[in-house]
Symmetry: C2
Subunit: 490 residues, 2 copies
């Protein structure tokens, strides 16, 4: 059927959808949710079809969204549509949902269709459900990782070794990446780091780095930045190094699902896409962290190690203290201030020590002698800080000193109501308050922690400060604190 394009003029952000008139649909026996093959000048797109009554899309028209129009290469003229064949991947998704194992070809077919936007949201969700309900074995995770890498873009660096690191999320602050990367790069090793933005946390590494420099670059630009500085700290979602994974993450969000298999594949695909040879994985363990039980942490560690072998990547996994936030700042600017201070030889001790420890382990993985000494030298000599400035410049940034970073216009100090010791700082509550105060969209918002676990506290002493650029948001956060103060003093 030949139809005239009507530009619907917005992005669905999801699977391809097109709209045709109900009567046209009836004529060629299309049902809502059917797939059609849309052809225009030799270009093809498969899209899910939806129907319109007469007033929006008239007979002979087809409403197309920006994503489809871009893929067809033109917003004017006519297209030809046909009922598309049933996708093979749907059968494989059903198989997984029934608890059966998938083979290499089947997993590739699913990932390929996810990446090409051939699956609608329900179908994609069924796949994630199957992985969550029945789990994936190590071989399936290996195939999944490789398939995600295969259908995405890769960073083409002619270097070896290539180092990478990853921290399992959930701990506010914890910006070790922004200290470790300049240390390692300053010692002459290559460490191209892609990071995520916050989803439900007050800042991801990409959000915090963005307080200092740009983080959205094309693959070719990233390659140039790494060639120049040995490193980068960019937003992974801005380049489609593992776009199939990004699409899966999107449907995992509403229920906040983290099936181990998908988590492993998601992390390792991103390492493989930058061609990493040595990877350090940090699993913070503690109440309110993503991983709350030692058994689970050890299980995950074993899986990472096994997957590393299968993918021929040297992996070291450390389980670290995740009982409280790392560093004092929580929120993009506040965290960036901590990072710059540490690189300048000052700043929160826990962030500094954890970064030194991680950098040392990385050097040991690379079989470098006197690893710890070299790490301390880099920090103390100011080499790591110089490298950080280089990276910021290469990423078109111009913030190099803590004083250049703004705090929220509105602030509120929270004081202790009793004498005692800090017994608990709830990670989840800290995240929630920082988020309510406006982070990460408001870069100046967040929390600055004045006391950490085991610190002595006197009645009336400052526990923490909340910052926000909006009075209303600050008030929201304060209300939340009244209900659930993240500190327990006793």
């Amino acid at each position: 059927m030949k139809l005239k394009i009507k530009d619907v003029n917005f992005l669905t952000g999801g699977p391809f959808v097109s709209i045709i008139n109900k009567n046209d649909a009836q004529e060629i026996d299309l049902h809502p949710g059917d797939r059609i093959l849309i052809k225009k000048n030799g270009k093809k797109v498969i899209s899910v079809v939806d129907f319109s009554e007469n007033h929006f899309i008239k007979r002979g028209e087809i409403g197309l969204f920006d994503e489809v129009l871009n893929n067809l290469g033109g917003k004017k003229g006519y297209v030809n549509i046909n009922l598309a064949q049933r996708l093979k991947s749907l059968g494989y998704i059903k198989k997984k949902l029934e608890g059966k194992k998938l083979n290499k070809k089947e997993i590739f077919e699913i990932i390929k269709d996810i990446n090409s936007n051939n699956l609608n949201e329900a179908e994609l969700t069924y796949f994630v459900s199957g992985c969550y309900s029945h789990g994936l074995d190590m071989t399936e995770i290996e195939y999944l990782t490789e398939s995600i890498v295969k259908v995405g873009h890769k960073l083409n660096l002619k270097r070896h070794p290539i180092v990478d690191k990853h921290s399992i999320g959930g701990i506010p602050g914890n910006r070790t990446t922004m200290v470790v990367v300049p240390i390692i790069a300053s010692l002459g090793f290559t460490i191209p780091k892609t990071s995520s933005r916050a989803i439900s946390s007050p800042a991801g590494t990409a959000d915090t780095m963005e307080a200092l420099a740009n983080v959205s670059f094309e693959v070719r630009d990233i390659e140039k930045i790494v060639e120049k500085t040995n490193a980068c700290m960019v937003w992974g979602g801005g380049v489609d190094l593992a776009s199939a994974d990004d699409k899966m993450i999107k449907v995992r969000n509403p229920l906040r699902l983290d099936p181990h298999g998908l988590l492993l594949a998601s992390i390792m695909a991103k390492k493989k896409a930058v061609n990493a040879s040595h990877v350090l994985i940090d699993i913070p363990l503690g109440n309110g962290a993503k991983i709350e039980s030692l058994i689970e942490a050890v299980k995950l560690k074993r899986k990472f190690t096994e997957l590393g072998k299968k993918l021929r990547i040297k992996i070291k996994v450390i389980i670290t203290d995740g009982k409280q936030p790392i560093g004092n700042g929580v929120g993009p600017n506040l965290e960036a201030i901590d990072v710059l201070k540490v690189l300048m030889g000052d700043g929160p001790k826990d962030l500094m020590n954890k970064s030194i420890k991680m950098s040392t382990i990385i050097l040991k993985m690379l079989k470098i002698k006197d690893a710890k000494k070299k790490v301390l030298d880099s920090l103390n000599s100011g080499k790591a800080y110089e490298k950080m400035k280089e990276i910021i410049k290469a990423q078109k940034g111009n913030i190099f000193r803590p004083e250049q970073l703004k705090y929220g216009k509105f602030r509120k100090d929270i004081h202790s109501t009793r004498n005692g010791k800090v017994k608990k700082i709830d990670n989840k509550d800290v995240s929630k308050i920082a988020r309510m105060s406006g982070a990460p969209a408001d870069k100046t918002a967040g929390i600055y922690l004045n006391k950490k676990l085991k610190d002595k506290v006197k009645k009336g002493e400052l526990l923490f400060t909340v910052y926000s650029d909006s009075k209303k948001r600050l008030d929201y956060a304060l209300e939340m604190i009244k209900e659930r103060n993240p500190y327990i003093i006793s």
Copy 2:
């Protein structure tokens, strides 16, 4: 945030979605997929939010679809939006996905949110996935059934007993409903039947009944039709007797999932919504039927019986021969011709016998003596046919005789290429060919079977005829037949 309505002017047909400008979203820290509470003159709607760049929805505007606008009661003016609270049902859905049992309150919460369009497609899909992957126990199915009934509309008939029947799908033809309903009604019993339209088959009972009369009515109209004639045969999707279930069926379609628990709840909720006291369930068993193994059929039978007890509905389940189509016609008009002929004392023997058997069982369930004799009397005396005419009239129809029904303009006879006996007639192939010829959208399209299982066939003898109103569609169907002739003669 106060925003001006922009009428986006089409139906999404799914969960409520609204679109706001990316910059407005950023200002109030909304993320794609977040829920917002939209208020207008005291009316409230919860909707999932999507973002637009500047060109479609400008700052200060909100793009709303027809469903949302109808619920807000106005297409002009301003609305107020706020971030909506996280839905409790999401936690329960996750629980199910992890294989845990849900209690009454949890299931009700989920069904309520499904019915109010509060869940987006991914979330709804997760619930169906959980039910598919982990199953539902009988108590969960009971709660599910009751919740679906509670949030939907009910037929308010002051009668007792109320009879209903249901055939598990998958068998082409099989229009016993349209024979059984007039028989039972002609004997003075109440049988308000709602049926489905075809999803992937060439006709549902609602499609075939539509060849004779209207099938879309409001609840109040259906009550009047039943008061007048003791019966009705209407499209269930046209009244929201179990709309939460209709929404679940929509996301089950792409993978063609039939989790037993949802199937049972779906069927029984529709029976309970018409306040049925006696229900006959027909499970056709055979290759190419929905239920292909005897073990599965028996399991399903046991579950129906148990669920009936819990819901205090008297249930009888029969497992019937589903090895081949029932009747000779497949497609709305062709099936309607079979039905009218049977009611007039002629027509396909298998359809007639199965209908007599089912009607007899229903009378026995009602403890009526000489059940079979009464059924035969009703048919032979023409009372059942007179009742059918009454029902057709009450449903504003005017087709009473087979001759009034048209056949497709184009036809093709398929002859046997050898002597022998009919060894197989493939249900799925028959459905597919009838569907390709244009059924159910083209009411005149379909297949007329001239031979049934075990019939002797001579070389050159007519096996079946394909009808269509479109030459192109007939050609499609014929190509399909070349590849997969549904008949095996040997």
